[in-house]
């Protein structure tokens, strides 16, 4: 089967600092890929590069077999949705307007259609009771669900999730994870940056471990997380599990 997104020897530097070196990987249609690695390793930068929020220096990124630099940015971003760690909602717009904005202004839909679609997706993430609220009036988990709905409104082929639960407490992250799981069951292609190893085990078809801008290991869950021979990954996983379950 032909992969949806292909990254080939990608390297990226931001303000003179080298962030990604020779990264190569592939993402299949309908799969869920999880990027893990220590902070500052370039996971988020890789994600932003797929969306062309960062412009890369060398290498090749293909979407549906086409070089993404040859597709217009706007067309590309319509097909690749993104959810951020800090939600990045627009504070001055209500929840419904946040979702309908892109439909109205990017897809040039009529007002009524836009609101209908936005309403439908908000119902999907169970935020339909809060359509007239403003982002500041909601809890973090609710805001993140609105952000997911906003990204899904454009019906993207790929959804990029940049640590969506990192800024949330466990109770709030639970409701967001439920939403993400339901999306995964529907077969949305997802690329997910996270520290939640358990979620990775549950969801991932593919795990990619990145450190200092290089891909250290990639493969399915068992290959990378459980039966790995790489000491660095073992230590990383140990540390995370230690942090999660305390000193038991």
């Amino acid at each position: 089967m032909k992969p949806l997104l292909t990254i080939d020897q990608l390297s990226l530097s931001l303000s003179g600092k080298e962030i990604l070196k020779d990264v190569s990987c592939q993402f299949q249609t309908g799969s869920c890929s999880v990027l893990i690695g220590p902070s500052g390793s370039g996971k988020s930068s890789l994600l932003k590069t797929l969306n062309l929020l960062n412009e890369y220096d060398a290498g090749l990124v293909c979407f549906n077999g086409k070089d993404i630099k040859k597709i217009s940015k706007i067309e590309l971003r319509k097909k690749i949705g993104m959810v951020f760690q800090q939600y990045n909602l627009f504070d001055h717009l209500s929840v419904l307007d946040n979702c309908a904005l892109a439909l109205k202004r990017v897809l040039n839909l009529k007002k009524r259609d836009a609101y209908e679609i936005a309403q439908a997706y908000l119902t999907k993430v169970k935020m339909n009771d809060f359509v007239n609220a403003f982002p500041r009036q909601l809890s973090g988990g609710q805001q993140q669900r609105v952000a997911i709905a906003r990204a899904m409104c454009l019906q993207p082929e790929v959804l990029l999730l940049d640590e969506p639960t990192a800024a949330l407490d466990p109770e709030m992250s639970f409701e967001v994870l439920e939403t993400i799981k339901s999306l995964a069951e529907e077969g949305v292609t997802m690329i997910y940056v996270t520290h939640e190893i358990n979620l990775a085990r549950h969801l991932a078809d593919q795990v990619i471990f990145i450190e200092e801008g290089r891909v250290v290991a990639q493969g399915d869950v068992k290959e990378v997380l459980d039966t790995t021979k790489n000491n660095r990954i073992k230590k990383f996983i140990e540390q995370i599990e230690h942090r999660l379950y305390g000193s038991e």
């Binding site: 303000s15 062309l52 929020l53 960062n54 412009e55």
Partner: protein, 343 residues
């Protein structure tokens, strides 16, 4: 990619906008050229060195109509400068007083301070000037019944105070201080201002009376009260912007009210009010130009009123005026504004 970080130069759009701007400016210029042909006088700078042939009623330095025009402009600038400086000092005092009074409900005079700020901030400067000049100072005694008791002389034109040899002594003192500063490192500006003050005071010492014209008094009063209300608002806002936690911390350290204000709150507030205060000081310098409306000979009045009337060099005078004000403002900004100063 963030929009600020884009470094690429779009030559086509740059040139297009440049062409657009050049087109507009040349259109304005040619229009001016055609329209001004009818009454154009040849623009020359020679009038600056020929004698002024007009009289300046208020001058801190010696001046006679035979002096060159550039010297008259200098006299007017000194008038503006001294007016601005005096207003700065008194407005700061009043402003801090009213600002502190209106910031805390514990003061009984809070209602007075805040209504003062309300009234003086929400009425136009020109109206206030006319109120003081044509209203209040108009009540001063007419020429035929001048009030005079040997110490103060009050008339509708001026207010004189007997000073004796005070200004001579002050001038001498300032001269010594100025010379002393001249030999210190990094105090050249300070020494220069002391020497200038010494020179000005020496000019006063010719007469035993210190005379202020009623125009000067009216401008001084107006600008002081007007600016003080703005400064009071700034001071109040800065004092209230100090977080409550700092207040609590100071109390927890055992500071009493006076020390808490002096050592903790005031220094923090001062940092946040500094740029706004400097903006106000620059605004004072610009606001002195309303002296033109009551005929006080400050820079705007002399340069764009009297000199244009007597020589007809409109273009040169107006551009000179704009250049002087602009350079003063930019200089003040350059001098006082420290960018990226942490608060």
């Amino acid at each position: 990619m963030h929009i600020y970080q884009r470094q690429k130069i779009h030559w086509f759009y740059e040139l297009l906008s440049l062409a657009f701007i050049v087109l507009i400016i040349s259109w304005l210029y040619f229009n001016w050229k055609i329209n001004a042909l009818g009454y154009q006088v040849s623009n020359t700078w020679t009038f600056l060195s020929s004698s002024a042939n007009f009289f300046i009623s208020d001058h801190w330095l010696p001046f006679s109509p035979k002096d060159p025009t550039w010297y008259a402009i200098l006299i007017a600038s000194v008038n503006t400068f001294i007016l601005g400086m005096s207003v700065m000092m008194s407005a700061t005092v009043f402003g801090f007083l009213f600002g502190i009074l209106s910031a805390y409900p514990k003061y009984k005079l809070q209602w007075f301070a805040s209504s003062y700020v309300d009234v003086f901030r929400n009425t136009p400067l020109v109206g206030q000037l006319f109120f003081w000049y044509f209203g209040v100072f108009y009540l001063m005694p007419q020429t035929e019944h001048i009030y005079y008791d040997g110490f103060v002389k009050v008339s509708i034109q001026s207010l004189s105070i007997y000073t004796g040899n005070l200004f001579f002594i002050l001038s001498f003192f300032y001269l010594i201080v100025g010379i002393y500063f001249l030999f210190l490192k990094r105090a050249f500006g300070m020494s220069l201002s002391f020497l200038l003050m010494s020179f000005i005071y020496f000019n006063f010492s010719h007469s035993h009376y210190f005379t202020m014209s009623v125009e000067w008094l009216a401008l001084y009063t107006t600008l002081t009260f007007y600016t003080a209300s703005y400064i009071a608002e700034i001071v109040k806002a800065s004092l209230l912007s100090v977080p409550n936690a700092i207040d609590d911390a100071a109390i927890a350290l055992g500071l009493n009210d006076k020390d808490k204000f002096k050592l903790v709150i005031y220094p923090i507030a001062l940092k946040s009010m500094r740029p706004m205060l400097i903006n106000q000081y620059i605004t004072i310098m610009k606001n002195t130009s309303i002296g033109m409306l009551i005929g006080y000979p400050e820079l705007m009045n002399v340069l764009t009123g009297t000199i244009i009337n007597s020589t007809g060099q409109t273009l040169i005078c107006v551009s000179l005026m704009m250049c002087i004000y602009l350079s003063v403002c930019l200089f003040c900004q350059f001098l006082f504004m420290r960018k990226h100063e942490p608060i």
